[in-house]
Symmetry: C2
Subunit: 275 residues, 2 copies
């Protein structure tokens, strides 16, 4: 387990609880490593990512997307025969391409669990974080890579109690630009607009807090994600801007009927995605 | 209690639990009235708003903003001497103005609890909905109206266990345009953008669900609120559009440092409003 923050820490913790005999962790954050060891989320701490990877049956990179790209090449020489490598980055095309360039086409599959938290570090980890969560698994496209994807999906389903869904990396990124990256961008843009209006010390109801919640996410992590998926995200932002402009125009025209119909379209959509 | 939906139902329910001997409710929705009576959230049901108001010490209008305006005139002739009238609409300037025009300047104060739910009807009511919640109370500005505001604030503090905050109606509406109405508009615009992209049947993580949660709110209610506060809301939407455009420009320029700084600004703001 390379990275013991909210995601990596949760995966490691559940794995040890599920009876995996050896879970070796590495993290840049010393305090996260100590805490993970104390809570028995890992059985060992390694001195470097390379040492954590050495001899492991499954190497999971749970670091930001930029660091994930770098680590693929660094761990490759240390992999045991038959080892599978995966990651948890929210954007998958570049990661899968890099894995293939690093000669990992047959032993890598990308992963992206649709769960987590805007909080960071092992303090935000919990062993049941992925129970019943959808986890996208992206094969490299090479024939033997299908085996690796099968292994990664099996890990999420059987050890993590999650629901793996196989999806091609480019399709994943296009989809997530809308379902995840756009909500993040919208929450951040709203928070910035409120901050610049000087509305820091006032009261927010549950609606204002929920709509901006994602803005509290790790800025460096999200800068990485948005840049790796920038074309698809740019299209999604353009659609959002258009949607806002239409609402503003209905308000300007004082068109109560059309305004209610617009809000109804949003309400119908939102009620449809509740689980 | 005129209106026994999520808000009116909750207030009535808490009032009966707190030992108010007589809580007379009226609602247009027959099923809500029956349920409120069965759960002992009200002690009586009235046949009309006028009958519910007759003889009451406190008349609370818990209906959408448009209906609130209409009801002020309808209940006035039925008020007992010394009765206080209040409401719970999310937008206050027009309500307070109408109350004054209807001759209620000395016995009305507007109310707006910063709590609630996107769900509607008595089924969404719960007696502790307003515990510790901020409740804005807007005096009419007439000297005797201060007494009414004092009475309304006392009701929220002592009976509802809420935290009343006195604020002038125009100031309230300007503030809420940003802290509440803009988040609603943003959630709806995002939901419409996703709906039009055809992304109904796909998986959303907790972030996508939270950011769009408000879109499930009652469309007719929100069309009312946004139209009653349209100038202030239009300014807030313009600021949000500008904020989104700046983010899009940073992405277009691939400016990782400036993008992270932008996201950091939003993160700092959001972390600051958590309670």
């Amino acid at each position: 387990m390379i990275g013991l923050g909210a995601i990596g820490g949760s995966v490691a913790w559940r794995a040890t609880q599920a009876g995996i005999a050896r879970v070796v962790g590495w993290t840049r954050e010393r305090a996260d490593g100590i805490e993970a060891l104390k809570r028995e989320a890992v059985t060992d701490l390694a001195e470097s990512p390379e040492r954590a990877a050495r001899g492991a049956a499954l190497v999971l990179l749970a670091v930001p997307p930029g660091a994930t790209l770098d680590l693929l090449g660094r761990v490759r020489p240390w992999l045991a025969p038959g080892a599978i490598v995966t990651d948890v980055a929210s954007v998958k095309r570049e990661v899968v391409e890099r894995a293939c360039r690093e000669g990992l086409a047959e032993r890598f599959a990308g992963g992206h669990p649709l769960a987590g938290t805007h909080a960071t570090g092992f303090a935000a980890a919990r062993p049941d974080m992925f129970a019943k969560a959808v986890v996208y698994v992206c094969p490299t496209g090479s024939p033997a890579g299908g085996q690796a994807a099968h292994g990664v999906a099996g890990f999420w389903r059987e050890v993590m109690d999650a629901q793996p869904v196989l999806i091609e990396a480019a399709t994943h990124d296009e989809l997530l630009a809308w379902t995840s990256h756009l909500p993040q961008v919208v929450a951040s843009a709203l928070a910035v607009a409120l901050a610049e209006r000087g509305l820091r010390g006032v009261s927010y109801g549950p609606g204002g807090r929920d709509t901006t919640r994602l803005a509290a996410s790790d800025p460096a992590l999200w800068a990485d994600i948005l840049l790796q998926n920038r074309d698809a995200v740019a299209s999604a932002i353009a659609a959002m801007s258009g949607s806002l402009s239409r609402l503003a125009a209905l308000l300007e025209r004082r068109d109560a009927t059309a305004l209610a119909a617009y809000l109804e379209q949003g309400a119908n959509f939102r009620r449809g995605i509740d689980r």
